[in-house]
Structure formats: C-alpha cells, structure tokens
Amino acid sequence: MSSTRRLPIYFLVDTSGSMTGDPINQVRTQLSSIIDGLRADPQALETAYLCLITFGAKANVEVPLTSLETFNIPAVLTASGSTAMGEALELLVRTRKADVVPKTGSTAGDWRPMVFLLSDGVPTDDFDAGIREFKKLRWGVRVACAVNGAEESNLRRFLDASDAPAGYNDESANLVHVSTADPMHMQSFFKWVSASISAVSGSANPDNMTSDTPPPAPGSNQNNSSVGNPQLPPPPPTLT
C-alpha cells in the first residue's frame, strides 16, 4: 500500500502591532471556523496538514505542521511589533524543508504546499532575502490576502509565479482584499479559503491545481498540458 500523500497548508499570519485587537481576533476566529468546517470534509480530514506561522517583530511557528484531525488554533494570538515578513518566508522555507516529504524516484512524496499569506502592512525586514528563498522551491496554490487595504506590491511579489512557464500570470487571481471591520467580508474570504482547501484536497492531482485557467504559454501548442486541471473556486467578487 502506498502511504497517503499529505497536502501541507501553511498559514502565514501578520501579527504586527497594527493587527492588535479586533483584526487579529477576527483572523483567529475565522481560522478556527475554517478548521471546524474542513473537519466536516472527510477528504480534507485525510489529506490536509496545517501549519500556522505568525510574524510580528519575529517570525514564529505557532503550530507546526499538524494533521487537520489534531490541529487546534491557539486560544490567543497576540499581535505586537514590526512586520518580519521576510523572516516569515525564510521560516516557511525552513519549516517546509523539514516537514514535507519530497518526491523521489520511488515515492510520490507530499503534494506541493498551499500557502496563505495574510498581512495588513509592509515588511519591515529584509523581504528580498525571504522572497529569494521562497522562490527556490515550487509551491502549490498561493493566496495573498491584503488585510484592511494593505499595500499590494510586496504581496504581488510573493504571488509572482516565477516557477511557472513564461507568460503565466496568476497574480490577480490569488490576491484578495479583506476588511476586518466587516465580519461578513471576513467570513466570505475564509469560506473561500476553506472551499479552496477542500477543492485542492479533493483533487486527483493537487500539484496541478491552478487558481484560474491560465492562458496558454506563448508559442506553445494550444493543447497545453496543464489545461484541464481542477480549479480553485473563484473568490467572491467582493474580495478581488
């Protein structure tokens, strides 16, 4: 029997000072309801493994990669300090290298990790270094969430698919905006996150999940082989 291929899902949550109070509490509550919701999906329950990384003055693995079955969001998430987003990406890379079983000739390994990055600010550390490390690996679905009108340019760099064929651009599809001031808005975002995870974990081939049907690479045949892969549900229109 072949072992189950895990679908690692990393949540990178901004816990800088500006997230203090209601924003971070909302994120915590919504993450917690994602977990509850996903647990009702037997497919996600078997496949999904979650890891929570927070970044304020420092990046920290709040909950290491844990099966959905045993995962629990910490009772309290505290927010303070600056925005060590670069460090968070480096930590993500280190954590992934330690946790995720790579594909080898004889084993299929785990699926490519999904990454959700939530931030309401601008990195205060060496973001370039973090992005460099991040781009060295191949990732599955990446979603950047600009909280409360956060600046987009850094989040776009996180999404920029340099590992995809030339001309392939999924930036806009994966960048969403949420406002913590609007609970319904938050809820619709996290519902979409939950649906995306379900879609990926239920997919026959999560590695080829795309957020949108990408246009064929220029010069290549119309029968681009990645076409026809399962798709993420489209994010609610209010988020994009």
């Binding site: 497919q43 078997e46 079955e69 299929a108 081939n205 892969n229």
Partner: protein, 725 residues
C-alpha cells in the same frame, strides 16, 4: 492735683535717666520719614525705568546713560535701605524704652512693701508719707492676688502633670500587657481565618484601628470592629503574609481633653502570616497557574478517549482531588481513580465543554474549577463508509438548469451515430461488472463510482470496454479515466472506450488478415511494430476527431464548451495469439496501469509507460500532445503459456501499487492471484451487469476497499489465460 503732680514727676523721673537728647530723636524721626517717603519714590521711578529698559526690552543693549541711571538708582536703593535700617532701629529702641518703663513701674509696686517696712519711721516724717500709704496697700493687694493666681496655676500644672504621668504609665502598662497577648507575628491558619483583637483588648479597654491606609484587598476590617477576616484565602496564601500598622488608643485618654493632646496613641506593626498546610498552598499555587480553560487533545469519533487529567493539568493527587466532571456531551466519565477521563464520543462535535471541579485534599472548602474543551473529530473512514452505504446507489445530483443544459447537448448529439450508450444526462451506471469465459480466457472487469463522486453527487467518469475477436482467440480491452475537472469527461471516456475498442478491433482484424504470417509463423516483431504503432496513432486520431466533432456540436448549445471538457485517458491492451503463445500490444496515454502477472518473471511486470501525473504538465489525455508518441507509448510483449493481464485506472493503481515496486513482477503476480479469486465468483454473462451496493459482486467489493485519501473512480480488468489441455 497732688496725686497727678506726683505722677507727673514720677514719670519724668523715670523717663529722664534713660532718655537721651530729645533733639536727636527728632532728627532721627525726620530722616526716617524723609527716607520712607522720598527714597522709595525715587528708587521706584528710577528702578522701574531701568527694569523696563533692561528686562522688558531684553534685545536692547543699555546705553551709557541708562547705565549711569541704573547705578544712581542702585545707589539710591542702597541709601534707602540704610536709612530704613536706621529708622527701624530707632523705632525698636523707642519700643524697648516703653517696655522697660512698664517693668520699672511693676518693680516699684513689688518692692514697696519691703521699702515701707524699712522706712516706716522715715515715711512719717516725710510730707508725702500720707500719700504713699494707699498706693502700697493697693500694691500689696495686687501682689497677693497675683501670688494666689501663680500658686493656683502651679498647683494646677502639677496636678495635670501628675495626671498625665499617671495616665501615661497606665497606658504604657496596658500596651505592655497587650503586647504580651498579641504577638507581632500573627499566624492565620485554616482553622481560624480571622483574628479578633477584642478579647485581648477587653481587659485593658484599649481600642485598635488600622493605621495602614490601603488594606490588602483580600482582608476585611469593617469599621468599628476589632476583627480582621481573610476574605480571599487564595490571594492571602499566594501573598504568604501581610503587614499592618495599627493604632492603639485608650478611650480614657481620648475622651479626656487634658490627656488627649498630651498622650498620643501608639502605633505597632503587626505581621499576619499564612500558616496553611503544604497541600493547601500547593493546590492554590496550582490553581493560580493552571488556566481556567484547557484544551484536551482532539479525539476521533467512536474511538475510546482516555485522558489522564493528572498529566494534562499537571496536578498531584496528593494535594488535589478531582471532585466531579460535568460533561455537556454526556459521553465521558471519571474512572475509579478519579483522575482518568474516559469514554467514547459517537458523533463529531466541536468544542465540547467539560467542567472539572477540583478540591484540595487537606481543605475541602478550597475548590478550583477548570473548563476542559474537547473536540471530537470525524472518523473519515467511518464517514466515507456512511456516504458509500447511503448514497452509493443514488443517481448523481443535478440542478434543474444542468438537467436542461445536458438535455440540449444531448439533443444536438443524438443524431450523430454511433451514440455509444449515450443517454440524456450523459451518465452511466454507478457500478458495473462483467465476466466472460472463452476458450482458455477468463475475462472479468468492474468499474465503480469513487466515494468523492458519490459524496458530491457526481457521475462515474471511468469507462471500460472489452471485446473478443478472431474466433475468441484475440481480445481488446480499453480503459479510460475522464479528467476530474472536465465537465463532460464521462462522455470523453465513453468515446475513448467505445470508439477505441471498435477502431482497434477493426484495425487488428485487418492487420491479422493481411499479415497472418506474423501471427502464425515466426514473427518479426520489429517489422510488425511499426504497423501497430500506426494503428494506435490512427485510433487516437479517430477518437480525437470524434471528440472534436461532439464538442463542436455541444458548443452550439453551450458556447463555453470545448474539447477540454471531455478530457480522458486511454489505456489499451490487444492480445493476439502467436506461435510462441500470445503477443500483447499495450498502449497508455495518462495515468493508470497495465501489467502482467502469473507468467514467467521476464515477461511479467508493468506493461505501460508509468505516468503518475506528478510533475506539472505530464498529465496526459487523448487530446493532449504526446498521446500519439507511439515510440514511447507502445509496449510489445510475447507471453508464453498462462498469464493474467490487468488494466486499471489510477483510482486503483495509485493506492494499490507503490511506485518503487510497480515494475516488480512479484507485485503483479500477487495482484493477479487476488483478483482471480474475486473474478471467479462472478456470474458469466455476455451482458454487462449493473450492480447495487447491497448486491455487489466480489470484484466491486474489492474495488470498494477503503484507502485513506483515495476516493477516485476505480476500474479494473483482469484477463486470465490458461491453455486448454
């Protein structure tokens, strides 16, 4: 008149020895008044101007004129001060003179009696003698009264002093005896969590008040009482001790106006020490550290939960006892030892709240409650089996608009023959099985809808077709897996299986009739291979054409529709008898597997290009590039004697065959044995059988086997060959 005169002379006599020159006085007064009036005027005007110029207009540098004026003003000021001093001295001198005059008068009164006695004889002779006498009398009387008053005052003072001294002594001794009764360190024990001073104070009648302004919040000392009570034992034990300054006063003194101000109340410092048994202290310290809400590790539904609360909450049974458990789910109970929480939760629930009440072993009144939060997660296997049981035979769920949309698509296609079992929702039976036995061959296959499709109310997307030809001596099996996300992949796989089978059978019949030598005599495989490659390439082409045609027609009913919506894989095996046994042509596009077992090791193993769709862009479908790469995809094997041929979609191969052993003959030998056992139990029939979950055959049951996270459609075909002896 005489009296008056005498007084006048008296005054003059008394004044004159001390009074110096009268004119000197007048000059001094003049200087005094002059300076008092004019100098300040001058200095105020001058100084004011100076101040205005040099301070208010700070930016201006003073001119020489201003400087001179300033110096003059300062000079005037100094002069004024000197004169004022002289005047002040004079005034003081004048006052002093007046005072000493009065004293002289008094002294003369006092001295009179002594003088009168000494000069009694002289006084008679003197002319003024008659006038002196009444004055002496008055003086003596006044003297007597004064003396009396002085004596009285002295006596009174002595009495008060004595009283104070006595009261002080009494107070001191009261305090001394109180000190003996009240130690400076007072132990508070669980037996008495208060301290009453009233018994100690009863005898002495002293009063005691807290002097410390802010008392610790955990104690109570209500006004007017002499009792201190521990209100919050926990805080007190955690604080270990507290000090209190008290004021001790004697009401006898406080109420006496003479003593009140003379004898101050005493302040003493008292320390109250928490003397509780060690277990109580430990319990309370634990209660402080342990959170009020503790999350227990998640449990799975139906699985016995067993929590050692001692470990989880890190308490020790030597000082804490779990008194009761209040579980809202009603599933968990306390075990005999009272620290084990056990039970089985049948249904998944989020955040069950369990109230655990603890008491301190040495002091049952000390309690602590902790809310335990427990999440019971679903057992995925259990859930899948529920889904399978309840929904396996249900038709796929379609929305109303989907039904009509599919109907429109169907109407467009229904005249384009052949239809290949096309129905109006493009669906197919949820589970099928088939078994046919022909000269030496035993063919069985089954295809089921995956649990994930059952759950989502979707169609089975796999398809399979098999056909004997050449007098049942040759056989074609085609298996196809429709792409998960493609809307009509079930039709795609149907076309692949049906058209693929027909095309291959026709082409090989033609090939065999043209090139019969190859199959009867010695065969030149390499020469034949090219022709077979063409056959497969052409087969794929005709499948593509058909899919293009159908998608074009459907596109008319649904403009967003394209051939991508009918993506499907292609696995085909063609078995033809030859001189050395059988020749197997196998061809694969996409994932899934073809393999041979039960034959000699050199010919057993995987018989297709392993394609597991692991790296992006490698998932192949009939429609995609590379499907016609026959050089890579065609596999030719000559199998002597008996064997088993197996074809399966990735729903079977992914969970069943680990990548590292997929080429190993042993894998295929054991798989063929397992499958043969299942296949042999099926009824032989020329028609494909539609099964239900309840009445499923052994092969379908085998396909239903649970593998975590593998819930795709599953299709398996097994062909066993045993030469007829």
């Amino acid at each position: 008149m005489g009296e008056f005169k005498l007084k006048e002379t008296d005054k003059v006599q008394e004044v004159s020895p001390n009074s110096h020159d009268e004119s000197m006085d007048n000059i001094a007064y003049f200087i005094g008044y002059f300076t008092l009036i004019f100098f300040p005027l001058g200095s105020i005007i001058g100084g004011g101007y100076f101040l205005y110029d040099s301070i208010v207009k700070l930016d201006n540098k003073p001119s020489p004129g201003q400087l001179v004026l300033s110096v003059v003003c300062i000079g005037f000021l100094v002069l004024y001060l000197a004169c004022a001093l002289v005047f002040l001295c004079d005034v003081l001198f004048f006052l002093y003179k007046k005072m000493s005059d009065k004293n002289k008068q008094k002294n003369s009164l006092k001295l009179t009696p002594v003088n009168s006695e000494n000069s009694k004889t002289n006084s008679v002779a003197k002319s003024e003698g008659s006038l002196v006498e009444p004055a002496d009398k008055k003086k003596a009387e006044a003297e007597r009264i004064a003396k009396e008053i002085a004596e009285k005052a002295a006596a009174e003072k002595e009495r008060v002093n004595k009283k104070i001294e006595e009261a002080k002594k009494a107070f001191d001794s009261k305090i001394a005896s109180l000190n003996k009764l009240v130690p400076s360190k007072i132990d508070i024990t669980p037996e008495s969590e208060s301290y009453d001073f009233s018994t100690c104070l009863k005898e002495s009648g002293l009063k005691l008040y807290p002097k410390t302004k802010s008392l610790p919040s955990y104690i109570e000392w209500s006004e007017g009482s002499e009792k201190i009570t521990i209100l919050d034992r926990r805080s007190f034990i955690l604080a270990k001790s507290f000090s209190l300054e008290v004021e001790i006063s004697d009401p006898l003194i406080a109420e006496d106006s003479e003593l009140k101000s003379k004898i101050k109340p005493q302040n003493i410092l008292l320390q109250f020490v928490a003397k509780y048994p060690e277990p109580v202290r430990k319990f309370i310290e634990w209660a402080k550290v342990s959170h009020n809400q503790v999350r227990l590790p998640n449990v799975k539904q139906g699985i016995a939960a067993n929590f050692n609360l001692c470990e989880i909450l890190s308490f020790d049974s030597s000082w804490a006892e779990l008194l009761s458990i209040e579980d809202s789910s009603g599933s968990l109970v306390l075990e005999g030892s009272k620290n084990l929480l056990t039970g089985v939760i049948k249904e998944p629930v989020n955040d069950i709240k369990i109230n655990a009440l603890f008491q301190c072993k040495d002091m049952p009144s000390v309690k602590h409650s902790v809310v335990l939060i427990l999440t019971c997660t679903m057992d995925a296997e259990m859930r899948w089996k529920q889904i399978e049981k309840s929904d396996s035979d249900k038709p796929p769920q379609l929305k109303e608009d989907e039904v009509s949309e599919l109907k429109n698509m169907y109407n467009g296609l229904k005249d384009v023959k052949p239809l290949f079992d096309l129905v109006d929702d493009f669906g197919k039976p949820n589970r099928i099985s088939f078994r046919q036995v022909k000269a030496g061959f035993d063919l069985a296959y089954a295809s089921i809808r995956g649990r994930s499709h059952i759950k989502d109310g979707k169609f089975r997307e796999d398809d399979i077709k098999a056909k004997f030809f050449l007098d049942n001596k040759a056989l074609v099996i085609v298996v196809s897996d429709g792409a998960g996300s493609a809307a009509l992949s079930r039709r795609g796989s149907q076309i692949v299986a049906n058209l693929g089978l027909e095309t291959l059978v026709d082409s090989f019949e033609k090939l065999i009739s043209q090139e019969s030598d190859y199959f009867i005599g010695n065969t030149d495989i390499e020469a034949l291979k090219n022709k077979v490659k063409d056959i497969f390439t052409n087969t794929i082409s005709s499948i593509r054409q058909r899919i293009d045609l159908e998608s074009h027609i459907i596109n008319g009913a649904k403009p967003t529709f394209s051939k991508k919506d009918m993506y499907a894989t292609f696995l085909a095996a063609v078995l033809i008898p030859c001189k050395d046994g059988h020749i197997l042509f196998s061809y694969s596009v996409g994932d899934g597997a073809i393999g041979v077992g039960g034959a000699p090791d050199e010919v057993s193993g995987i018989k297709c290009v392993p394609d597991h769709g692991q790296s992006a862009g490698q998932t192949l479908f009939v429609q995609t590039d590379g499907a016609t790469d026959a050089n890579k995809r065609l596999n030719v094997t000559i199998i002597p004697g008996s064997f088993s041929l197996m074809l399966m979609t990735d729903g079977v191969s992914d969970p069943l065959i680990p990548l590292d052993v997929e080429s190993s003959p042993e894998t295929w030998h054991s798989l063929s044995k397992e499958l043969k056992c299942c296949a042999e139990t099926l009824d032989v029939s020329d028609a494909v059988k539609t099964e239900t979950f309840e009445q499923r055959g052994k092969l379908c049951e085998w396909l239903d086997s649970y593998q975590p996270s593998h819930h795709d459609d599953r299709t398996i075909a097994i062909l066993s060959y045993n030469p007829i002896s």
